[in-house]
């Protein structure tokens, strides 16, 4: 049957029918729908897609800004960033990783296994293969070797032609020229961890950042870090580099001007170190201690020493596992800042608080004479002086200079728990002072609730006599005690102790000055403080607990303290609180010698004596 045999009519009727109209309409509709959709996507939503296309292609290789410097109050440079040369690898530009690593190992004279280890394990991420690195961090850069020697750099430059994808880069590296000195003030820096990055990514941090991990480096990280620069690059869908679009210069971080007096700091470091070493030889074990010096006029910390200490330079290029383990395994915990974290009972140094409280609240008069029998029956419990015998009838000043427990038990008894706690808290004990480095411990002032929770019994009425002489469950840090002394000296103003006095930007312009914040004016009378100072001024006099420790030509005030540990079975912790000179003091000192044995006058006071003598350039007659 042939088509030509069909009647033409049939075809015509089909052609002119509704089917054909529907067919044409469907075709037209399809084209109209396409045009409508194109109008929507390209015209209405065009700008949205245009910015999505731009976001697709532009990436930034961050270039770290040099961290800001740290100076002492006189402009001594304490912490800086020095340029170091590193060998960095850009994964996407490497064609044959195995051959590259072989050649690099030869060029740098480093074991190939070490280079592979660094290539696959960095920034806290562990990859299995080079391809994974190239996929997730295509333009790195991944640091394979840092602190290159001149010889390594020369060989690397020679081999550069064969080493595509390997860059020789200058990178700022944190440098602490005084090494261990002041380590607890500065803290240290290190690679940001994954967790830290997650917390801070909204603050402009990137996964390759070096951040402050402790001390000022941590507390002021946002100011010290500066603004990272970067190289804008265009990448393709695989993240491969297509073209460099030009660099954005990093802005160096701000500099910190500290209230620290570096000369005082170094003197204190040596004094503590020598004393701990000497007593350590006596006991046959390593010892720990701390010193804090505060400017009583503004709360600026002038020195802060904690022993044992650490070398922050160990951390700058990623700390070696063995070194880190040594720090962690040391039973004296060198990373622990005793100046703000160690809290023990303060022993008799607390009598500064008890004494000024008793006079201010009127439970005793000025020049009050009390009978010191060497012990006191306090709410049915008899307490005996740690040192033998009583002084008999004694006035306030002599009782304080001689540190009469018998006298101060009575003050505690008269004050009672509530008033004593009020004054202790007024002086800043039992709470953080808010110093500008992390880790501060608030100490403790026992309350009824606290003793119930800790010992299962309520606070006993007799406990007040123990607390009044700085024994029992009270705890304070060296920082708190130095600050108590500063308050006593300056007439009752409790400053917030701080390390940073001013902040300067990279051009040297001061961007912020700290306004010496006052926590409170302690509710003590001038008369009470005068009495306390008069007692402390006599500490080196005959009858004072630190008799024989005077500095010729530089009178200073002080208060010894001795604390039993482990219920009297452990070696004593000893304290000495001082201010010097006694008139118009330049600084107050808290010397804290942890479980050294002996008494405050034997162990802690000589440290203060040496610091004062050396700082004021006086010779000790011996």
């Amino acid at each position: 049957m042939s088509a030509s045999a069909e009647p033409r009519r049939t075809v015509l009727s089909l052609r002119s029918g509704w089917k054909l109209q529907l067919f044409v309409a469907a075709l037209a509709l399809a084209l109209i729908v396409l045009i409508a959709r194109l109008t929507q996507i390209q015209i209405v939503e065009g700008p949205k897609y245009a910015s999505a296309a731009r976001a697709n292609q532009i990436r930034r290789i961050p270039v770290a800004a040099p961290r800001g410097r740290i100076y002492d109050r006189d402009g001594t440079l304490l912490v800086r960033s020095r340029p170091a040369f590193v060998c960095a690898l850009v994964p996407s530009e490497v064609r044959d990783p195995a051959a590259m690593m072989r050649l690099l190992s030869k060029t740098l004279d480093l074991p190939e296994a070490l280079l592979w280890q660094r290539l696959l394990n960095h920034h806290g991420v562990h990859y299995k293969t080079f391809d994974e690195v190239a996929t997730y961090e295509p333009y790195g850069p991944i640091i394979l070797a840092s602190e290159l020697t001149t010889a390594q750099m020369a060989r690397l430059a020679e081999a550069q032609a064969e080493l595509t994808g390997i860059d020789l880069e200058a990178q700022p590296v944190r440098d602490y020229p005084y090494a261990r000195a002041g380590s607890h003030i500065f803290g240290f820096v290190g690679q940001i961890t994954e967790e830290e990055y997650r917390e801070r990514k909204n603050l402009g941090y990137s996964p390759n950042d070096v951040i402050g991990k402790d001390g000022l480096e941590e507390h002021y990280d946002d100011l010290l870090r500066g603004t990272p620069g970067g190289e804008q690059i265009e990448v393709d869908s695989q993240g491969r580099l297509v073209r460099r679009l030009g660099p954005v210069d990093p802005i160096p971080g701000h500099s910190l001007i500290l209230s620290i007096d570096w000369r005082l700091q170094q003197i204190a470091e040596r004094a503590v170190n020598d004393e701990l070493a000497a007593w350590g030889r006596v006991h046959g074990r390593a010892l720990a201690g701390a010193v804090v010096a505060i400017d009583p006029h503004d709360g600026g910390v002038m020195a802060m020493v904690s022993f044992p200490n650490f070398n922050p330079n160990d951390f700058t290029n990623g700390i070696k596992e063995s070194t880190f383990k040594r720090y962690l395994d040391d039973p004296l915990k060198p990373l622990y800042n005793r100046a703000i974290e160690a809290a023990t009972a303060t022993g008799s140094t607390f009598k500064m608080v008890t004494g000024s409280a008793a006079i201010s609240s009127g439970v005793i008069g000025k020049d009050q004479v009390l009978y010191d029998s060497g012990s006191w029956a306090c709410h049915g419990e008899t307490f005996t002086d740690i040192a033998a015998g009583g002084l008999g009838s004694v006035d306030f000043i002599h009782a304080l200079a001689a540190s009469s427990d018998g006298y101060f038990y009575q003050l505690g008894d008269r004050l009672g728990h509530e008033r004593l706690r009020y004054y202790a808290l007024q002086y800043g004990l039992g709470s953080k002072l808010g110093i500008d480095i992390p880790g501060e411990y608030p100490g403790n002032w026992p309350t009824n609730a606290w003793t119930m929770k800790t010992y299962g019994v309520p606070l006993q009425p007799a406990d007040v006599c123990q607390l009044a002489i700085g024994q029992g469950a009270m705890q304070a840090t060296p920082l708190q005690m130095a600050n108590v002394a500063a308050t006593v000296v300056n007439g009752g103003t409790l400053y917030r102790p701080h390390l940073v006095a001013a902040i300067r930007d990279a051009t040297g312009k001061v961007v912020k000055r700290f306004d010496n914040p006052v926590i409170r004016h302690v509710a003590v009378t001038d008369e009470a403080l005068r009495e306390v100072r008069a007692g402390m001024d006599r500490v080196t006099d005959p009858g004072g607990t630190a008799y024989g420790l005077a500095v010729p030509g530089l009178p200073f005030g002080g208060k010894t303290g001795t604390v039993e540990t482990d219920g009297g079975r452990g070696p004593n912790t000893t304290w000495f609180i001082a201010y010097a000179p006694s008139t118009n003091p330049k600084f107050t000192l808290a010397v804290f010698m942890e479980r050294t044995g002996g008494y405050g006058a034997e162990v802690a006071a000589p440290v203060a004596q040496r610091i004062i003598a050396e700082y004021f350039k006086k010779k000790l007659g011996q």
């Binding site: 084209l31 959709r37 109008t39 390209q42 869908s237």
Partner: protein, 366 residues
Amino acid sequence: MERPWYRRFNWLLAVSVIGLSLFGVLIIHSANLHNLDASSEWRKQLVYIAIGTGAMAWFASVDYRRWRRWALHLYIANLVMLGIVMASGHAALGAQRWISLGPLGTFQPSEPAKLILAIVIASLLASSTASGPRDFALTVLAVALPAGLILKQPDLGTTLVILAMLSAQLFFGLTKPWYFAVYAAGSAAVAAFVVGTNVILKPFQRSRLLIFLHPNSDLRGAGWNLNQSKIAVGSGELFGKGLNHGTQTQLDFVPEHSRDFIFTVVGEELGYLGSLGLVTMYGLVLFGALRAVFAARDRFALLLSVGIVTMLAFHVTVNIGMTVGIMPITGIPLPFMSYGGSAIITDFAAIGLLLNISMQRDKLVF
């Protein structure tokens, strides 16, 4: 009286497809600017266009009725080719679609299969003026076998093209509307089964098919292509980023941009105006092709031209539609634009057939 051939010739159709294919070469060149492996594609495409134009001229000169007589032979040859693909075709992009022609490259039998099936369906439905249930059943069965082989490759897109042609040709060929209604209802049920279950389609095909309904899901996986494709087209805005300057194209964010996703290059680099221009060009091609439908002087010619027009329109709509997220991603080329010899030669041959049909309008019918 018969007018000279050049007076009867459908110049609009012939010239517009040649123009379209040359424009395509320009776009392929831009698409592969940074792809060294494919840098010769535009030259090869020129060769395919030359061969295609020759095929178009030859098909235009051969009386279309001859194809009706050859329909059975073509059908068997087509099944054999698809069988060879099934048995020995080598894997390309995870699909068995190609037969190797040695130094001449590869050949994709599913492309001519579309044209051959258009001829086969037209001849089956044209053989009776009644086109009753028997013709209907025979036609569906005849199509089901090769369509099944193509689906198995798996080439879902081509299968859908064939089903679209079948539907349009049945629509015109079945004399009683309710026959077609039965067919439509049956197809809808089958489609629901296919799309709704993993029995026929592989899971990756289903997720690709349905991703356009949830454009923001799985942006790193199945949604990646669609998302990047939309970004490419959308970011072209009114004037485009300029030929050879599309970031999405040149930096490889859009996949397959000389082939299935070639429209994204036009959209991105030539913008809305370029896109409109291209859609208008396809409008002209379809208009020219419709002249053949109107010129058809017998049922075979009518049904064949309807099949071919449907094939072209379906390709254009689904291909462009998928790049802008209103059609599923089925992987069918854009006619006369996408790189690929089998497709371009088949398309030119199809236009040749239409040219012959529209040229015979004036011929006397005995």
